[in-house]
Amino acid sequence: MVDVLMAILVAGFTSGALYALATVGLSLVWGSMGMLNMAHAAMLTLGGYVAFTVITSLGLPIALGFAGAIIAGAVAGAILYFAIVRNLLKNDKSTFEANVMIATVGIGIALENAILLTYGGQPLKQPVSIVGTFRLGPLTLPWQNLMIIAVVVVMMVVVSLALGRTRMGRAIRATAQNRDAAQLMGVAVNRVYLQVLMLSGALAGICGVMVSSMTQLSPPLGNDPMLKAFIMCVVAGLGNLPGAVAAALGLALLESFVQYALGARWGFPSLLFVVIAVLIWRPSGLFGRAEIRRM
């Protein structure tokens, strides 16, 4: 019984850590720009495949694979900004929310398909993986899961330091709180948007490497974590980073319990029921503050 419980907890914490990374990337972009990045899934996939190429095809060390994934994600974010976001921001502000969502859907499809055309549809094995287990008293923990949790914790610390302690982070937070006021105070809002998209892309790249190390590389790799990350963002309240991490861990644990108790197919529906229940009770999410809009 304890074994089963531990297995569920380990699985839940591992997927929770992965979802948290995906959720933070999405939530960061939403919070500071009011933009829902539907291409996030494809950026996840991109990171996974770039790490694969660097390590397997070029034969470089694993650390460079991570670096490649981070750089690829950041570059994808920058391209997204210059090709799409910058142009859409020039238009009417009220249509930005929907337009950017549709445009990033298009980019996401194109990127996923480009990956499919380059690497083919057959699943590939992500070389970033550690075999073996680790015994702690009566518990058996796979190294792989520990590595994922460790990487995610490191990334969370990096992100919170970057947001809390640096000039860039202060500008991002100011823009998130009030874009117009930040701009009036001399924050270069456009540069903040570029930085946020690159940061979120880098997080997506890392997350893609981690997700593919748990399963396998395939072009639709990012879709499932992204959809769940969306749900977690909504439960937490879009744009709330600590809330997003808490919701990701909580919902991932719930998912793995439900999958154990009722079978794998009820995992996702159970998340949906939770999100609907939460939104009926609190329409702007668990930790979200109700938005007051002036006419």
Binding site: A103, G106, A110, L117, F230, V234, R265, L271
Partner: protein, 365 residues
């Protein structure tokens, strides 16, 4: 002054719409006599389904501002309901179409009750999650519900879906020409859908939908009940979407979870975006353009999806109001140029008078 002018321009736009519809009806009648290829006619029938679904998504998103991503889920619900009524109860397809559509309305009301208290992207995310849940539950359904011969059949049809539950009766009636019969039926479905959509958009309740989209705060302050109005438009569009789903199942004599895939939903969204969000003819224009583009890209095979994605992104960036909006800009530009020319010519002789006479013309546009 402005009131009479807007009314006269409205009646002019109504006349334009009427003229366009008459031309389209004539073209639709002439089409089966011009097209010999079964493949082309089949693709045109498929395009009519796309146009019907897209027009209803446009009613939701373009005219009412509800960013629902459950459109294909509602379409699939209508199709599945029709197919299941025929499959399990042996109903005639024609008898099952309207109950199937009403089932889709019920489903949409449940979805709407869960989602429509929210706004904007929250609606989009929740409806996407609902559609995805429906897909997953159907695909992973492995429990035997009935045995058909020696084959186990799941309640939802599982990953395979339903087939051979009946058709529209055109095969028995028209033999080799059955496709023309189906074409006529689906063309009528599309026409009826467009007429109803037009009536809704131009009616007072249509104005309420638009007001809620353009300025929700103001509309609510003027006494429009947002939740009720949006639930209403959700139900209306679900009826036609579900009906189209039933006809789709009957035309192809099959329905499976494939219609719930993300790429189908994206194709519908692309149609509306390329054609023109919130324009009446946008979905039709978008369907023609995208189905043609899709056929052309079929030659290049594997780059089809890539091209489609880029088309979506580029058209949002380059023409936010779609092709219909761009066309409108062009007409305006030409009219303004003509007005300017007319203004500059008499300007040599009597500038003061011509200014007074000419100035309201551009303002009325």
């Amino acid at each position: 002054m402005t009131d009479t002018m807007s009314r006269s321009s409205m009646s002019r736009s109504a006349k334009t719409d009427l003229a366009i519809s008459l031309v389209l009806i004539a073209a639709a009648i002439a089409l089966p006599f011009m097209v010999d290829s079964r493949y082309i006619l089949g693709q045109i029938v498929l395009a009519l389904f796309y146009a019907t679904i897209a027009s209803q998504w446009n009613l939701l998103f373009g005219f009412s501002g509800i960013f629902s991503l459950a459109q294909m889920a509602i379409f699939a619900f209508g199709g599945y309901a029709t197919a299941m009524l025929c499959f399990y109860f042996g109903w005639n397809v024609w008898a099952a179409l309207v109950p199937g559509a009403l089932g889709a309305v019920l489903f949409s009301l449940v979805v709407g009750l869960a989602c429509l208290r929210l706004t904007g992207v929250y609606v989009a995310l929740l409806t996407l999650a609902i559609a995805q849940t429906m897909y997953l539950l159907i695909v992973t359904d492995t429990e035997c519900f009935v045995m058909v011969g020696s084959v186990c059949r799941q309640f939802t049809g599982g990953a395979v879906g339903f087939a051979r539950f009946g058709d529209l009766g055109t095969r028995a009636l028209l033999r080799a020409q059955w496709l023309v019969g189906n074409y006529a039926i689906i063309a009528v479905l599309f026409a009826v859908t467009m007429v109803f959509t037009y009536a809704i958009v131009k009616s007072p309740i249509g104005l309420a939908f638009r007001a809620l989209k353009d300025n929700p705060g103001y509309a609510v302050a003027r006494g429009v009940n947002r939740f009720q109005a949006q639930l209403l438009v959700f139900g209306i569009s679900a009826f036609f979407t579900g009906l189209a789903g039933g006809f789709y199942a009957a035309h192809f004599q099959a329905i499976g979870p494939g219609v719930l895939s993300m790429s189908q939903l994206m194709f519908i969204i692309a149609i509306v975006v390329v054609g023109g969000v919130g324009t009446f003819w946008g979905p039709l224009v978008g369907t023609v353009v995208l189905v043609l583009a899709d056929e052309l890209m079929r030659e290049s095979g594997e780059f089809r999806t890539l091209g489609l994605g880029l088309i979506i992104a580029l058209s949002v960036v380059l023409m936010p109001k779609g092709l219909v909006g761009r066309f409108g800009d062009l007409v305006h530009w030409l009219a303004r140029r003509r007005a300017n020319l007319a203004e500059s010519r008499p300007a040599d002789s009597k500038p003061a008078v011509s200014n007074i006479v000419q100035s309201p013309a551009p303002a009325g546009k």
